[in-house]
Amino acid sequence: MKELPLQVEVKSKKVFKVSNLTKTRKRSDYFWAYLMIAPTMLGLFIFYLWPIVQTFYFSFTEWGAFGQYEWTGLDNYKRMLEDTNLIKSFKNTGIYIIFTVPIGIFLSILVAVLLNQNIKGKSVYRTLYFLPVITMPAAIAMVWKWLYNSDFGLLNYLLSLFGIKGPQWASDPKIALYSIIVVGIWSGIGYNMVIFLSGLQGIPKTYYEAAEMDGAGPFRVFFTITMPLLSPVIFFVSIMSLIGAFQVFDLIFMMIGKSSTALENTQSIVYLFYQHAFVLNDKGYAAAIAVLLLIVILIITAIQMVLQKKWVHYD
């Protein structure tokens, strides 16, 4: 307290110098700021921002065999309208999203709520559920393909114990997509669970104590306390899961063979993008698919942003 007036005095003595000082200080500020952001901004510009512009441009071009391309206007976009493969890939991706996102979120909330109880062995459970998160999708796909194997796979063997003849999980065109969906859900639970768990830990214990005093049952507690207070986290996770599910590729690429009859019914938008861009050398069309993907994701995110006002509680 005593030192305060002294400081004021010092400041007032220096006052005539301040404007000069701030000027040089500001100049040095700018210098350091630009220097520090330069590498990242330059890298982002070269590898990310300018490519966005280029991809838009490429989506109006057609490519020849030797990397030359010519402007073809809206041709690629017109071609999309009649491309049954593309329409199919949208449908496949849509089905993948509709199942993996809600079921994945439901299961990870369930696990998180259970792990948030006062029970033994919490950290062991948490570790086990987290295992798929650190595992390479290529390896996950491989082991599941093996579990799904129709003749020698573990899954069909277990079913046979109950007298059920299991289907060809990964190669029957009617089933393969759903088999991939199961793997998608399985591998995503741990990641979302951890985020929900940290959200749950942010809910004050007093709320639950009050509810207990009122004699509320577990379901009531969940829907009147947990859900509303967790809703910002649920919103965040649902947006991230949706964007992630939109870009599903690794699992399909590794699980479904290039000549599999199930490919048509499982290939996602990004799979098709990859095919056109890097296998068929149809880069103009691939660019158009990427642009379409961008637009669809932006629209859906925008819709979610609008809808969130109806169910997400911030306080």
């Binding site: 700021a33 590498p39 490429f58 570790t127 998160v133 573990l154 063997y157 990427a290």
Partner: protein
Amino acid sequence: MERTRQLLTSKTFLIHLVLIVGSVAMVVPFLWMILTSLKTYAESIQVPPVIIPEDFQWGNYKEVFGLLPFFKFMYNTVIVTVLRTVGQLFLCSLAAYAFARIEFPGRNILFILALSVLMVPGQVFLLPQYMIMVKLGWLNSLQAVIVPGLFSAFGTFLLRQFFMGLPKELEEAARLDGCNHFQIYWKIMLPLAKPGLIALGIFTTLWSWNELMWPMIVNSSPESMTLSAGLSSLQGQYLTNYPILMAGSFLAILPMLILFIILQKQFIEGIAVTGGK
């Protein structure tokens, strides 16, 4: 009293039951991977299946190393992962410090520009990135995987959040002592942002280790392949020889598994942080 206790134990029993069923579903694929990797081919296609192989076929692992340059894949993946992670931590934190703690003209516009990258799905960048690599003559080289991965809008955003939360007094004191911004960043801010750095580090490590599409596009020669793409080519060669495929898969995930077991707490907290912000 007795009734509530019974109710309680039956409740915890139910919770454990659900969690155990889930855990089994999580673990069985991994166990099956390891068990299969130690079987002979004949054992792997036996019906009913052999659960525990008669003799552990360690030779399967030898075969993976022998027929594919799997050591090379692993070495490549380690190099790529380490350089990307270290590079990103340094470059992102530098930029994040400037965005969070220094006022300069154009700060908001530049930051929004960086953020806009976050809104765009990765596939939009791939074609032009690929063409840059062709122009530089970088196809089939490790730098093709490393260099674009050094820059991250996500990392910059995440660390900026951390730097913004630190008190201003620290900085003022250092400035009075005559520190410049780099010194403040290096000596004061970086140690304080450790949780953020760990989170980003883990996130980037996982991402680089597991990524499939980009490494597969730019590197098709075994010399510069990473593990994910290597597994895909292993699958191409061995089709249904699952003991070999499982041995390869297990080798590919083992380093991350070990890292996870050692740094469990950091992994889980790190993911919670990257998701929660």
